[in-house]
Amino acid sequence: MNLENRKYFLVGLVVFTGILFLSRLAYMQIFDPTWSRRATEIAERRREIIPPRGTVFDRNWNKIVVNQISYNLMVVEEKLTTFDTASFAKLIGWEKSEVRERLLEIKQNEGYYLNPATGKRESNFRKDRPYPLIKDLSLEEITQIAPFLGDYGGGIYEEPVGTRYYPYPNAANIFGYMSEVNQEEIEKDPFYRPGMNIGRSGIERSYEAVLRGIKGVRYIVTDATAHEIKPYADKKFDTLATPSPNLILGLDINLQAYGEELMKNKKGCIVAIEPRSGEILTMVSSPGYDPNLLSGRKNIRKNYPALVSDPNLPLFARPLQAEYPPGSIFKLLQSLICLQEGKIRPNSVFSCNKTVVGCHNHPTATSVAKAIQYSCNPYFYAAVRKVIQPNLANTKEQDAEIGLENWYTYMTAFGLGKKLNVDIDFSAQRGGLIPNAHYYNRYLGKGNWSFSTICSIAIGQGEIKMTPLQMANIAAMIANRGWFITPHFVKSIGNKGPRAVYLKKHVVPINQQHFNVVIEGMRRVVYEPGGTGSEARSADYVVCGKTGTVQNGKNKKNHSVFIAFAPKDNPKIALAVFVENAGAGGVWAAPIAGLMIEKYLKKSIVNLEKEQLIKNTKL
């Protein structure tokens, strides 16, 4: 027996093992990417950096919407391998069972969404995704908890959530509010993750894409408890978060606040526009609410139900969403059309014949300007009749159809009968109603109507409906003597100026000289004896205005309307004031408009008694 040879068995064993191990190593390290990928999973993390939401300024660089940080406690179930429920419950001051229930709730609710493909609620809950465990903790609350979160191996961590704070308790309907994203939004847009907030209405919603900024991504090397050790690959793949540019609104927050104060205890709205730029200076919807009431999850939960069920509809943005008959302010537009069509001349006379349409007692209007001053209903009945019945067809019904279509094109050019497309969520706006031939053919039947049937449109009653924003825009259009820029809130995104659509002039098909006639009428309304808007008068500048008293059905008090602009030459402000169920336009709307103009142009009020009276009046 030769034992010497047995050494080859041992040598063979060693060499074989060596070769086996090296092949295995070569496979693992060079050819099979699985382990490398697994290492990435273990040691590297992709951290998203969410930039702070953009700040909003008013036209005078007052901060009007700023950020306030609150914290969500996030949970990743996969990492809760050794989760001590009892100690965690103690840490957050809950019962043990509550923690369990909440975890179960997350599993059952957070992941559910309505699958549009199947129409069923489906769960896409994933153990490796973070979900908010407790939402909206304040800085004080989180500082009690955060130092101990390291014990949970990265399974529970805090995440800052930007909520909004509004230094001025005004303009809630403009800013809108934010709330937590839903499952569908998370699925649709990779920007959002559970627990984040999204703009739900107002500027927050329409400028969401701008305000949220651009997320940054960091790749880091983490330890076993998910804490950062160092950046991955010397930050080679990292991208910086780009904070949102500031939004500068055309809004004058002080004027807004003043307007809200004047409108306190009244229902209605004020819309003020800078005619030259179309920037909205003020948009009061009364009653309103403090926007801070809907900031943050806790507040929304607490205050939203009350706001929604309030019979005075504080969440309803009246200037954009309410449609009212315009009343006598509509006569300004009728004057322009009649003059342009050549149906009347500036000094045309129509007698105040109360047999066709009612009127109040006033001297006979011997010119268009005086007709506006007296707001003479029969005058405009007669004038508009010439436009609607141009004698171009055999029957008066066919004739009215042709005339109304012509009239309708003017209305459309004035931005009526359709949405103006303000930079607030389009679906939250209304367009009012201007009837055309098609409209009457549908409701009254073709050939069943002529001017006499529909004559109330001449004085802004009947089917005509306008939003207060449209009324203010009409004032701006007249102030500009024939053009307007679509009213908008955002004056500038960062320093880039407004969106391109808000630079375009919409020119109306009315000759320049006709405006002088109408504006003279508006001046007379305010300054001449017998004018209906004398309450808006000022000695320091010329205010041009027009009252409206909107009939509001039987047994209901009329709405009070006033549109105006000032100064007469080179106007700085155009506005519409609408006070529901307040009576004649000259009584309530006109003085409010006067104060607003004074506040904006002079910064201080001379007639404090009048101011006090309006503030204290409850309608």
Partner: protein, 463 residues
Amino acid sequence: MRTKDRLFANLDLPLLIAVLTLMFLGVLTVYSVTYNPESPSILSMGEKYGKQLLWVGISLFVGLLMLLIDADIYRKFAEFIYLGCLVLLVIVLFMPPVHGARAWLGIGGLGIQPAEFAKIATALYLAKIIDQINLKLQNLQTVVNILVILALPGFLVALQPDAGTLLVFSSFLFVMYREGISFDPLLLRIINYFRVVRFKTTWLGTHFIPFLFFTLILCLMSLLLSNTPIHILGLELPGIQLLSLFITLLGLIFLLLLIFFGYPRYRKNHLVVLLSAYAFIIMLINSISFVFQHVAKPHQKNRIELFLGLKEDPNGDDYNRNRAMAAVGSGGIYGKGYLQASVSSMRTNHVPESETDFIFCPFSEEWGFLGSLLLLSLYVFVILRIFSIAERQRSTFFRIYAYCVGMIFFYHVAINVGMNIGLAPVIGIPLPFISYGGSSILAFTSMVFILLKLDSQRKDVLR
């Protein structure tokens, strides 16, 4: 002066240099794994790298002392060293447990593990015993004696519990094989009891160790294949049936060879051997597969499946190994660079024990495949060098001791590296000279320096 000249003239330089290189790599790796930016000096004694360096210094000093002691002393006092270690292994069982094992003598960080030294003692005593055996007159007593010498420290180590060291004791079986220790006396007694055929020697008894090894591999294969269907020629066969088929074919070939080429005189005996071997193998693989599938409890099955890679549980039972393998795999060809281990560094702590039992993974992560190739080659070189040193000894005692050292090295490297790359179960034993730990370094250094001393005196021995 003469002694000194002769000492250094006869030292085996390749082995010495290889071992010193390993020590250097060890300190380097421990430094990287446990690196603390606040005390970057390698001499900071508060950090593990400082301690490791200190232990290397102590070990080299002890090694130098060992070179100065006459080699004959180890032979003379082998029993006493062995007994001394047994006493230490008993005492250690009464020490307070550290990490669940009563393995440390002494207090805290300054403790030593007697189990590490028991390996040397057992190797020395085993060498002395086998040296005294007349190989031609082996009987039951000689085999039992050797097994008892191995079993005693093995049993004490198992009580700690330290499965790794227990496993290392089985490495001596391979040395026994090399030395011609036969299990025949044991086997013959059993076989001849039945009086069917008479054997003077059996192939099985003579080659018992390789047979055991072969059987283990067969077991592993049958476990691997028992749950894995294999597709061949459009047929889906259970893996275990395929293996049976393969072995049957192999058996038939052997049968034909036996019939046509075998010595007629031994044909009957060989036929019996072949048939019993065939029956044994078929029964073995099928029963293992059956036990695995139907008898093993779920948690046992789970363990085995994890080890075989049939199942993954990266965050549970397989946490360490999964992360270690990820670290190794992420190293790529060139590695991530020194101090750049992102998975296995102590700072990230994804791989627990990455400075001791799992130290191969940070090394491999930082130096990549090329570094691992170098390290494994160095180990293979060291082991083969020790084998060749063993073979050149005139004294049987020296040779057996040398083989023991070589096999201890082989076991440590194979199990340690194996578990880092998923080829061995997770059993905690250190990687020689690399893993952090004083006892391990001191023991391995002593082991190698005793070997160097014995080797340097090889020419003094008269055969």
